[in-house]
Symmetry: C2
Subunit: 270 residues, 2 copies
């Protein structure tokens, strides 16, 4: 699978810009998983199978697995997505970043060990820290630009030559780091004006947009400010609002309803 | 163990500022590990036991374990350090950073799952992304400031209000994030003048200094520019130059020699 081709195909053929985030928290699982020794995998698999029709991508967040020692479940989950839902790319959300020799090991972790199609990466250490990801031309590299959390501005909004740091990151990625055309950017939904500014800088580089749902971002503002000319260009990520939409026997159907509702709301403004 | 107390005690009692980095690369292991199914653990344990007398801290780099699926070896290695060498703190070098709710899972990964005494963290997402680490007052939080790699300046040297970004990070950490006194900073050995500038900003906040040895940093310049008034304040990190000092039956003795030589060279300039 080529990540960017798969993503564009998926946007068109499935008519959805929803990225389903997989952040397993066993304390929030429905009661039927209480005595399941493989609950993390089984819960996530049920969510994946229920929501696949509405997903342009899946995004497992690695800390939620690592804190539980559930690397095996993560490996099997990604393999399941590839086998059962071919054509839907998987973004490993790990926000890695280290010096070049170590970054090669992180690239091996994401792309070889876990067989992810894309990875999130932190730009603070500069280009050589991201290069081992960039070099894998068939995989996607989703670089933090302007995040959705309250403290995002501590560094990202500091002004250099009249423009905030996050805009410099956007420019570097679009003009210097994207030689293989495999870069995307994380731009949070909580700051719609910033989505528009970054879109103006980077052309049709895809955005991964967290922050709708639990974090309060407005879907209409996100889509109208951040879409590309053809009405795509976005992976609007939702995790908890889909995963924990229901808490009973029908949790998977509730998750599907939440994913479909988000898809429909997004599509209203494309 | 309280990380900062343990580190200061270790500096004084063992008279060493050397941090032994544990970056296992099986392709570089001596021949006797060729058919050892537990080679990662056994190699690292031998290095730990041989170099402990010269170490103020140990720093396993998690990507080297994760790329191999060797989380079990990492867990046992840290447990071995605590059991066999009590009083030597362990820094999990994972450079994590994510929004608050996810950062809590990364704190659980480092401090609960792996029982590390400190963790390295990336500041790009701002204070709330580091807060779950900071809140563990007995653990250390070693925040990236000015790194040692060629691309470090891409973002870290951008100038805001007349001063580079890394100095703003240093100031934020020292003045705002260090309420529990559990912060340290990563400042690379390849830029001695920058070590001096950061030292002037942060008082006696400890530095983790990578970049001597394989990356070419000069020990005399590091120590004279970065030490605190009492001749401590530093963890001078060396990984490959110690781990792979020898490649024969005597690899552990060669590693010990390399660690002792680095300790002695550092102490010449304290």
């Amino acid at each position: 699978m080529n990540f960017m081709q798969a993503l564009r195909t998926r946007w068109q053929q499935a008519d959805t810009l929803v990225c389903v985030g997989l952040d397993p928290e066993p304390a929030r699982f429905p009661a039927q998983f209480a005595n399941d020794p493989d609950a993390v995998f089984n819960f996530c698999r049920a969510i994946v199978d229920a929501t696949a029709g509405y997903a342009c991508s899946f995004k497992p967040q690695i800390a939620h697995f690592a804190a539980l020692g559930a690397e095996g479940a993560l490996t099997r989950l990604i393999a399941h997505i590839h086998a059962a839902h071919p054509g839907i790319p998987v973004i490993l959300d790990s926000k890695r970043g280290d010096i070049g020799s170590t970054a090669q090991h992180y690239a091996a972790e994401a792309f070889d060990r876990y067989a992810a199609d894309a990875v999130t990466a932190n730009p603070y250490l500069g280009r050589d820290s991201v290069q081992p990801f960039l070099d894998r031309a068939d995989r996607g590299v989703v670089i933090l630009c302007r995040t959705s959390n309250p403290g995002a501005g501590d560094l990202q909004d500091l002004v250099i030559d009249g423009r905030p740091l996050y805009q410099h990151v956007a420019e570097k990625v679009a003009r210097e780091w994207n030689g293989h055309g495999n870069c995307a950017l994380v731009v949070g939904a909580t700051w719609p004006a910033q989505l528009k500014e970054v879109r103006a800088i980077v052309g049709d580089v895809p955005f991964l947009v967290p922050g709708v749902g639990a974090q309060g971002g407005d879907v209409e503002a996100v889509v109208t400010n951040a879409k590309t000319a053809d009405g795509t260009g976005l992976m609007v990520s939702s995790s908890r609002a889909i995963l924990y939409a229901g808490n009973g026997q029908d949790f998977a159907a509730a998750a599907a309803d939440a994913a479909r509702a988000l898809r429909d709301e997004i599509n209203r403004y494309r």
